[in-house]
Structure formats: C-alpha cells, structure tokens
C-alpha cells in the first residue's frame, strides 16, 4: 500500500495541550500537596500528638512487616497472592491465646524451676509460646501448600488465587466453629503486665492509676517488645536468606524456576520451605498483634493480611527490605489517616495508596522492573 496517497492526518485541536503525561502528574502532585499541607498543619497544631501517632504507627508497621515478608516471599517465588496468609496470622494469634490462657505455657520455667526470677520465667515462657505458634503456623502452611496449591502449580494463576481465597474462607469459618476457636471476640490474655512510660524531660514510668501528663509522649513495653522481636526475626530471616544453602536455593527459585531445577535444586521443597518461613513470621506477627490490641476473632486476619500485601506491593513485591519499609510506611499512613482524616476511612486510605502505587510506580519502591509477564 502506498502511504503517500493516503490523506494526511488532520492535526487534532488542542493536541499540544493534552498530550503526554502531565495531567496525570499534576493530579498526583495535587493529591500529594493536599496530604503534605494537611500533615504540616497538624504537626504545627500539635507536635506531641503527631509524634504519638508516629509511635502508634510504628507498632502497627512492625506487625505488618512480619506479615508482609511472608507475602513477598511467597509471591516472589510462586507468583501467588496467598490470601490464606492473613488467616495463618489469625491462627498464630489463637494458638498463642490457648497456650497462654488455657495451658499457662508462658509460666513453665517458673513452675519447673521454683525460685527462678519471675521476669526471666515469663520471658522464656513467652518466647516458648511464640516459637510454638510459629511452628504450628509453619506446619499448617506446608500442609496447605502441599494439598491445595501444589496441584495447581501449572494451572492458570487465577485458579490458584481462587483456591487461596477458598483456603482463606475455610480457615476462617473452620476457626469460627464452637469447638475449634470461637465465633465471637475473645479478650486476649497478655503473658506479661503492661508498663507504660512517658517522655517529658526524660523517660518516667507511668504508675498505675496515674494519668498522662499534658504534652508528654507515652509508649509501652508492648511497643518495645514488638520492635525488638520483629527486628530480631528480620535479622534471622536475612541471615537465613543470605547465608544458608536453603536461602540461596530460595533466591534461585524466585529468580528462575526452570534453571534452578536444572541446577539440581529441589524446587518443590524450596517452595514448601518458603511457605513455612513466611507462615512462621506471620504466626509471630499474629501473637504480637494480639498482645498489642488484646482482642482476637476469627476474621481478624483478613484486613491486616490485605494491608500487609499492600505494604509488600508498596515496597516492591519480592524484595525483603522493600516489604519491611513498605509495612512501616503503611503503618504510618494508616494511623495518620485515622488520626487526621477520619477514623473509619483508614481502610480506604490503604487501598487508595495501593492504587496510586500501582499506577505511578508498579514495581514499588525497591522492586526490580518486571522482566517478563508470567
């Protein structure tokens, strides 16, 4: 066909104005400007309240980080949004609840060695409970992976996603049965008493019955424990992924499955290990979340699970530091939105954030550019 004979395209009126990406960038700029302005106003209005919100956000962010790591690892390795991950988190919370409230497992060192310092006894006991819920969650995740996901590994991705949704429902409503967990809210029994400190010219212990002095910032031992435990687990995970042979295999499988298989890596086993490690972190996260918010119910895992997934996307799915940082941002965004926009809108904020990230930076903060579409 002779192109020269075709009529020339009439230039579109106003093409110079609407072409390019600037309207979208402008829109994003406006949204960001409104957020920054709102935050600045609120910081100037009450700096201590703002810092207090940041601390609350930190607590939430670290819990999200523990869940988000499992999401990002599993997604990085099998490209599956593991909906059931949030419910594994719920199971972790319930296991620790029963271990503490029914079996008093957090007191075992004190009972075994009478005369042991109560603080040391509770510390060792609490760690035992946490390890127990991590192990239970890991075993459960491997069972789920073997029975539900493995047969679908070569099926379309969406079939696996629907299966994951099914597993998630099953765990929730199975847990809601009377003889399994409970259909209603349960008040969580904390293994240790809550201590609160306030910062006002130095750090002081807030005595029982004492109200917080004006202009002070408070934090509790729960916050400290959550941060310490999360950082410790993160360190362990990093060492595991970077330094061990299994960790190396995980990275290899995530990078290129067929080649990893050719190199003699047991792909199936590696995937199971990934699920187990992710679920163990989620189990620990579930316990910490329950300690922080002291109320558990069978559907408690859904929303934190989704938010942790969003955090993983925000940080760049497949990237461990990304998931961690994304979760911290998520925690801050949620508490700040709850404090300064409107409390019921905090769930909506998370998803708005997700949509904006996916649109403007689909690979997240730390993600690698998509190599090929799976």
């Amino acid at each position: 066909m002779n192109t020269a004979s075709m009529p020339a395209r009439r230039p579109l009126t106003g093409q110079w104005l609407v072409r390019g990406r600037w309207p979208g960038r402008l829109f994003l700029g406006l949204v960001l400007a409104v957020i920054v302005w709102k935050l600045t106003v609120s910081v100037l209005a009450g700096p201590t309240i703002f810092v207090q919100q940041l601390i609350n956000g930190l607590q939430l962010g670290f819990v999200y980080a523990l869940i988000a790591l499992g999401y990002t690892m599993v997604y990085g390795i099998v490209r599956l949004i593991n909906f059931a991950h949030g419910d594994v988190f719920m199971v972790g919370a319930f296991i620790s609840y029963y271990a503490i409230a029914q079996f008093r497992l957090h007191e075992w060192p004190g009972r075994l060695f009478t005369g042991m310092a109560p603080a040391a006894s509770i510390a060792i006991g609490t760690v035992t409970v946490m390890v127990l819920s991590m192990v239970v969650c890991a075993v459960m995740a491997v069972v789920i992976e073997r029975t539900a996901y493995k047969p679908l590994r070569d099926a379309p991705r969406i079939s696996a996603l629907i299966t994951a949704i099914g597993v998630s429902f099953f765990l929730e409503y199975f847990g809601a049965l009377d003889f399994v967990f409970s259909p209603s809210f349960i008040t969580y029994v904390r293994p240790f008493p809550v201590r609160t400190w306030y910062i006002l010219d130095g750090i002081h212990l807030l005595e029982a019955g004492q109200t917080r002095p004006d202009g002070s910032i408070t934090f509790s031992n729960i916050l400290v424990i959550i941060i310490v435990v999360s950082l410790l687990l993160l360190l362990l995970l990093t060492v595991f992924v970077r330094r061990t042979k299994t960790g190396k295999a995980m990275r290899a499988v995530a990078f290129d499955k067929p080649t990893a298989r050719l190199m003699g890596i047991d792909v199936s086993r590696t995937i199971s290990v990934t699920f187990a490690v992710g679920a163990a972190l989620a189990g620990a996260g579930g316990m910490l979340y329950a300690i922080a918010f002291s109320s558990i119910v069978f559907w408690m895992g859904i929303i934190p699970g989704l938010k942790a997934f969003i955090a993983a996307v925000l940080g760049g799915i497949g990237s461990l530091p990304g998931a961690f940082l994304g979760a911290l941002i998520m925690g801050q965004a949620e508490t700040l939105a709850g404090a300064y926009v409107s409390s019921p809108m905090r769930d909506a904020i998370a998803f708005t954030l997700l949509i904006l990230v996916l649109l403007y930076r689909p690979r997240g903060l730390f993600g690698e550019p998509e190599r090929e579409k799976a």
Binding site: R21, P23, R25, I158, I165, L177
Partner: protein
C-alpha cells in the same frame, strides 16, 4: 439470512414464557410461600450480578472482586430515588441523579471521542481529565435539576399512584445501573491497565472503600435518609417476580447478543491472548473497559432490584466478603457460560440459603461456610472450568459461521484457516 425466529430462539422464548407463567402462578396461588418467593427473587438478582461478573472474568479474563461494590452503588442509588419519592413525595433524588448521570455520561462520551485520538496520553492523565469534566458535568446536572423537581413531581402525581410508583421504580433501577456503569468507567480507566491479580486486589479495595463510604453516608455526605451504619429503611418493596424476571431476561439476551457480535468475539479474544488480540488490531483497552462497564451496569441493576426486595439496606450486606459470592457462583456455574451462571445462582439461593437452612439442625448453619470453600477447592482441583464448563443452551450458543461453499473439506478448512483468511481479506 433467514428472517424471523429460528428454532432455538423460539424454544428459548417459549421456555421463558412458561417459566415465568408457572412461577407467577405458584406465587400468586400461594403454593410457594414468602420465604421461597424472596429466595427466588434473590436468586434472580444474583444471576444478574453473576452474569455481569462472568462477562468481566469468564469472558474477558479480568479477575474482578469489585462487582459487589457496584452492586452496592446501584442498590443505594435506586433506593434513594424511590425513598425520596414515596417518603418525601418529590422527585429530588430522581431528577438530580438523572441529570447528573445524563450530563456526566454525555461528557464521558464526547471526551472519549476526543481523547481516543490523542496519542501518548497515559491512563492516569486520561483519568485526571475525565475526572475534571465529570465533576463539572455532575455539578451542572445537579443545578439544572433543581428547578425541574417541582414540575416533574406534579407530572408524576397526575398519574395514578400505581403507575407512577412503577415508573419511578423502573427509572430508579435503571439509573442505579447507569451510575454503577459510570463509576466503573471512571474507576476502570486507571485500574484496567494493571495486571490480572493486581487488578483483583485493586477492585477488592474498591469494594472495601464503598463499604466504608456507605457506613458514613449520613455523617460524611449528609444523606441522612441512608442512615449510615444503622441501615436504610423505608424503601418501597417494589421488586416482584415480573421485574426480576424482566431484568434477568433483558440481561441474558443483551449478554448473548454482545457475545455473538464481532465485539463479543473481540472480548473473548482478549481473554485468550492479549498480545495476539492486539496483533489482530483489537483495541484491548477499549474491550476491557467496555466489558467492565457493562458488567458493572448489570451489577448496578441487580443492586436496585435487591434494594426493593426487602425494603431494607445495611452496609453489612455489602461487606467485601460477600464479593466472593458471585465469584464462587461463576466458578461453579462455569467460567464463560451464561446458562451455568443462571443455574448456579438459583442453586446458590435455593439450596445454600433455602434448603440447607431448613434441613440442617440449628447449630449446623455455621458449617455452611466450612463446606462451601471445601467444595470450591475440590472444584478448582477437579473441574477448574466449572460444573458446566462452557456449555450453553442452543439459544445462547454462538452460532457457527456459515460454511463457505468453496471449502469442501472441513478439516482442511480449519487447518488452512490462517492462509485462507490472509488471501481472502488481506490487503
């Protein structure tokens, strides 16, 4: 081309008429009581929602969990219109929404014609431009509507009460659908560019956001009649067997006609292989948007019908957990089967909500949601295409292309199709 009905069409129409008449008789004679009457209507409503979702996911391959959000939008919009008509005796809801929808729809259409020719505009920029104009159009429509409220109220009052109620109801349900469609267009504009599972999560987020907004309708938007988290009451119970049947019939026929057109084949080709579809000259983005909008339109219609079934709406009914219901229905009924969707919807309503509730002893009701996902898992492992697969009754089945005379051997015709078409239609 033969004129008139062919055999499958005649059988389908006759079958519909018989089903309608039989159920109408059963309900009006009181053989099926109110419990079953409600369930049948809910089943039909679910069928409409699920057909919309099947269009989006089953036929176009976009994994959407946002169907329930559009359903909620349709329900609340339609309920607001009829509530204002029956309780406040004016057409304020009807006229404002009608003109806002008309103006913004017009803005979208005109802008779409223009922006489609613009090169190098990314999705977010298009979204920003559309948003600006749609907001302006809605404001314009609302201000134009104000002076029209009094005359239209007088006009509708001149009609007999039964007739005006039905007219307002019909308009309300239709407008609910159109509003859902416009929202889905605006939302789909940026979202449809995402990959399949990200799209699923984003649409799930949409459903969650809608639920949160519905919880705060009275405090955040000043729509006091919706009563926020306490639930909206006082909606006239206008939805009867005729209306649900009518809308279901229209939806089935419209879906069938879309799918059998060249647009429909383009829609299905996007599901099969996006890259190949693009290579064949199909505007993939446009097909995705079209399917998403039509599917959401159906969800909105169904929402309107649902709102007028019980006369009561609560944000909890639009919890995002429920957005898995239509997903499960289409997975069972068959991804890409209208027949299967309709059957599965009625089965869902009548068996899961009806029979099991009666048959099972008191405490066993909670077991429903344990068995339900297990069935889903077994389905995904054994029959991932759904119970009926892509089976259709003859009327809904895509007509086979007319055999060309020159093709003597059918097998060689298929095998050589690429060569044959390139010589026949290329150039």
């Amino acid at each position: 081309m033969r004129l008139g009905f062919n055999r499958s069409t005649a059988v389908f129409m006759l079958g519909c008429a018989v089903v309608f008449a039989v159920f109408q008789f059963l309900f009006s004679a009181g053989i099926l009581n109110d419990f079953w009457y409600t369930l049948v209507r809910i089943g039909a409503v679910m069928a409409i929602v699920s057909i919309g979702l099947n269009l989006i996911y089953g036929f176009n391959g976009q994994f959407s969990l946002g169907q329930w959000g559009f359903y909620a939008i349709g329900a609340y919009a339609a309920a607001d219109i009829t509530y204002r008509w029956t309780q406040l005796h004016n057409t304020s809801g009807l006229m404002v929404l009608l003109l806002a929808v008309l103006f913004s729809g017009l803005a979208i259409l005109l802008l779409g014609k223009y922006l489609n020719q613009v090169r190098g505009l990314d999705a977010m920029s298009a979204f920003a431009i559309y948003l600006l104009f749609v907001v302006l159009a809605i404001l314009l429509g609302a201000s134009v509507a104000r002076p029209l409220i009094a005359p239209t109220t007088a006009l509708l009052n001149a009609l007999p009460e039964a007739v005006s109620g039905q007219v307002v109801f019909f308009l309300a349900v239709s407008l609910g659908g159109l509003i859902a469609a416009e929202v889905s267009f605006m939302f789909g504009l940026p979202i449809l560019t995402l990959g399949s599972d990200y799209f699923g999560i984003a649409t799930l987020g949409f459903t969650i956001i809608i639920k949160v907004l519905l919880d705060n309708t009275d405090t955040m938007f000043g729509l006091t009649e919706m009563k926020g988290a306490r639930g909206m009451v006082g909606i006239p119970k206008e939805t009867n067997w005729f209306w649900v049947f009518f809308f279901l019939f229209v939806v089935v026929v419209v879906t069938r006609n879309i799918l059998h057109s060249s647009t429909g084949r383009a829609i299905v080709s996007v599901r099969e292989d996006e890259t190949a579809a693009k290579a064949m000259g199909i505007d993939v983005a446009q097909m995705k948007t079209l399917t998403f909008v039509v599917g959401s339109l159906f969800a909105g219609l169904a929402g309107g019908l649902y709102a007028h079934t019980n006369g009561f709406l609560h944000p909890q009914n639009f919890n995002f957990i429920r957005s898995f219901d239509p997903m499960i229905i289409i997975v069972f009924g068959g991804l890409g089967s209208i027949t299967g969707t309709v059957i599965a919807s009625f089965a869902w309503a009548l068996v899961l909500e009806g029979v099991l509730r009666i048959v099972l002893p008191e405490g066993f009701e909670t077991w429903r949601f344990v068995v339900y996902p297990l069935l889903l898992l077994v389905m995904m492992l054994l029959r991932p295409k759904g119970l009926l697969g892509t089976y259709e009754i003859p009327f809904l089945r895509a007509a086979l292309p007319k055999r060309r005379k020159r093709e003597t051997n059918s097998t060689s015709g298929v095998a050589q199709a690429p060569v044959g078409t390139s010589t026949g239609e290329g150039g």
